[in-house]
């Protein structure tokens, strides 16, 4: 733990500890040269410094609005440090799965477009992420900015992966928490790879498909734990819940997105679209994005109702705008977008939270 106030490289002053990513510690720091707040990352004890440097070199090659930018890398004493763009907000995992049972297709389209744009730029720089999942994506408040981070993580995990493969043949028999956490989003060519196999950018497209499935349905596409490799290998078809297409307002968009997700989850990596093609498909989607807010249902009538937003405003909704697996009751917590309307603003889409 680095004490706040500590200055590193005569430039970066530690402000506070942010989080531990399992393999690295993250701090908020002040770049005294530019006056900017940055994220400072350092590997946890026992992690290989050489791989950490390698991951910094790779991520510094990517320059895109949807990828957290790597600014600097240095070594001091026996430790090494990476300086990255700081994003005020949280992870995609915390912004969605922790609070919303499943996201509506408009938000899904918006997220998929942004993540695909970040991947397209990385892949163009010949950098594959290889551990893309909701906890490795940072979001600003209200989903205003979406940035992929931790391009280094997969490189750090490499050593662990190599050990596991050497010991048990492939990754699927591992009991390691890191491997288990990665499995639900892991491409088959990564999961079943043999020593010396190269895993490329196609694996990120699989992970993008798997994470979109997870966000849109609340479930993992191939289950969890030891069931993942079994289900992936038998090419178990995806089962999309019926709420995705139950309402006319959402069905066309849902169908378009599930079509793209299914292509991303093709078992044969040659069959998957490349990131730029996913960007193209997402740009053709007809969707609307505006920031999401939270509220509570205050009144339910036959086909309409009202929400009290967190800042006390009365907002109208029609049941056709209600999306998701849960029904609306007075007192239900909801997440929604507010639009102009008369006599009350109108919520669309609106999703009930547990």
């Amino acid at each position: 733990m680095i004490t706040p106030g500590t200055e590193l490289a005569s430039r970066y002053e530690i402000v506070s500890y942010v989080a531990s990513g399992g393999m690295q510690d993250v701090y908020k720091a002040n770049d005294k040269l530019t006056g900017e707040i940055v994220a400072l990352k350092t590997p946890q004890a026992g992690q290989a410094n050489k791989r950490f440097k390698q991951s910094a070199i790779l991520s510094a090659r990517i320059s895109n609005y949807n990828v957290a930018k790597t600014f600097d890398y240095f070594e001091e004493g026996n430790a090494c440090y990476l300086i990255e763009e700081y994003i005020e907000g949280t992870t995609l995992e915390a912004a969605t799965l922790d609070v919303i049972p499943q996201i509506d297709p408009h938000l899904a389209a918006y997220l998929m477009l942004r993540i695909a744009k970040g991947l397209a730029a990385s892949h163009q720089a010949q950098v594959a992420h290889r551990d893309l999942k909701p906890s490795n994506i940072l979001v600003g408040s209200g989903f205003s900015s979406i940035k992929i981070t931790d391009f280094g993580i997969a490189t750090l995990a490499e050593e662990l992966f190599e050990e596991v493969i050497a010991k048990s043949g492939d990754l699927t028999r591992s009991t390691s928490g890191t491997v288990k956490g990665a499995l639900p989003y892991m491409a088959p060519e990564m999961m079943f790879r043999k020593p010396g196999d190269h895993v490329g950018c196609e694996a990120d497209i699989w992970s993008l498909g798997a994470l979109m499935f997870r966000l849109m349905t609340g479930s993992f596409p191939f289950g969890e734990g030891m069931m993942v490799p079994v289900n992936v290998e038998k090419k178990q078809p995806l089962s999309w819940p019926s709420f995705l297409t139950r309402k006319a307002q959402f069905a066309p968009l849902s169908n378009s997105i599930t079509g793209i997700v299914e292509k991303c989850l093709a078992y044969d990596k040659e069959q998957r679209p490349v990131a730029l093609e996913v960007v193209g498909s997402c740009e053709e989607l007809c969707f609307h994005f505006s920031p999401r807010e939270f509220g509570v249902i205050s009144e339910v009538k036959y086909s309409t109702g009202f929400v009290r937003s967190s800042d006390g405003e009365k907002i109208f909704y029609h049941k056709d705008s209600l999306y998701g697996s849960l029904g609306a009751k007075v007192g239900s917590k909801v997440v929604f977008s507010a639009h102009d309307g008369t006599p009350f603003p109108r919520a669309h889409p609106i999703v009930v939270c547990p």
Partner: protein
């Protein structure tokens, strides 16, 4: 070879300008090339500091990035260097363009960069094709902030500085001159014309007759030509802001790129550049036509009771995305959903 600041190794490639040099180095920490910029004469050090001050405030995709500032001794001389991002690519004065989408995308990127420079409170003061580069991915980067000033703080000059031909008329004179961000707007338009082969004359600019840009470049979009003329207004207050210029260029780049999905209980329609109009009606309750004009979807005809998101619609109403059209004021009514796509200017 000895490393500079313990991490930068000169590759031997260097270039020299009027007052300093740029040395290409390999940053050993991140295995990437960087450029070290320094001035020769101590009297030019303020320009290096002006550049540092300007670049520190800027974080734009279209502006060269300042990575570090280092001071060290070299042959017993004190040297101060800016460490800048290395941008492999071609300066715009080495490229030729013709009116069309590629050209307009380039202008949009330059305009976006200048807007972001202005938003950070900086005036560049030397916008010209030689100070703009297109990198290997087609991204435009603006560099050389040696003349940059802070808006409202040190925006006065006694001597004529800049590049004649790209300098706005208000910069010519013998007294102390105050200037605004509009000098960059003027230089932007001169740059835009230079890219088409219309090189500026080396003299104080004169007024150009309305319509002369389109007369010289008939393939240019009329709106873009008008905007460039407005940017060349002899009066700084007559020129549009770079934000306005960016918005206009972007709007035109997205012309005909939108789609809308119209869904009724029975059918789904798509509107786009090849199918621009849809007519909807329900029993005798009402009817409407929606037309795509290349920029927006608008109601062009209407009869009976038609509501958009519960507000009565009229001819001329612009459709918003994710809205519901209701035909009829009482049951039986028809509900139609309307969603619009989100094309973005690539860059």
């Amino acid at each position: 070879m000895r490393l500079i600041a313990n991490r930068y190794e000169p590759t031997g490639n260097a270039s020299w300008g009027g007052m300093g040099e740029l040395n290409e180095c390999e940053d050993k920490n991140l295995s990437r090339k960087v450029m070290l910029k320094r001035v020769f004469k101590p009297s030019d050090l303020p320009r290096l500091l002006d550049e540092q001050k300007a670049l520190i405030r800027l974080r734009s995709k279209h502006v060269v990035q300042l990575l570090d500032v280092i001071s060290f001794k070299w042959n017993s001389q004190d040297i101060r260097c800016l460490v800048l991002e290395h941008i492999p690519g071609t300066d715009l004065d080495k490229l030729s363009f013709s009116a069309g989408e590629e050209y307009q995308k380039t202008l949009w990127q330059i305009a976006t960069g200048i807007s972001e420079i202005h938003a950070a409170g900086v005036i560049h003061r030397d916008i010209k094709p030689q100070n703009i580069r297109r990198d290997g991915n087609g991204i435009i980067k603006i560099f050389d902030f040696g003349l940059a000033r802070e808006t409202g703080k040190d925006d006065k000059t006694k001597s004529i500085v800049g590049t004649i031909g790209y300098m706005a008329p208000e910069l010519f004179g013998t007294k102390t001159i105050s200037f605004t961000a509009a000098i960059d707007t003027f230089a932007f338009a001169r740059t835009a014309l230079a890219l088409l082969g219309i090189q500026p004359r080396n003299e104080k600019p004169k007024a150009i007759p309305a319509g002369s840009v389109i007369a010289a470049q008939s393939k240019l979009n009329v709106e873009v030509a008008k905007t460039l003329e407005a940017c060349l207004d002899l009066s700084p207050t007559g020129r549009p802001s770079m934000n306005e210029v960016t918005a206009l260029l972007g709007r035109d780049l997205l012309r005909d790129k939108h789609r809308a999905r119209v869904g009724t209980q029975a059918q789904a329609y798509e509107l786009n550049a090849t199918k621009r109009t849809v007519n909807l009606s329900f029993q005798s309750q009402g009817s409407l036509s929606i037309r795509y004009d290349g920029y927006e979807f608008k109601i062009t005809a209407l009869s009976g009771d038609v509501y958009v998101n519960n507000a009565r619609a009229t001819v001329g109403t612009t459709m918003l995305s994710a809205c519901v059209i209701t035909i009829g004021s009482a049951a039986p009514r028809a509900f139609v959903t309307f969603d619009i796509s989100n094309p973005e200017v690539m860059a």
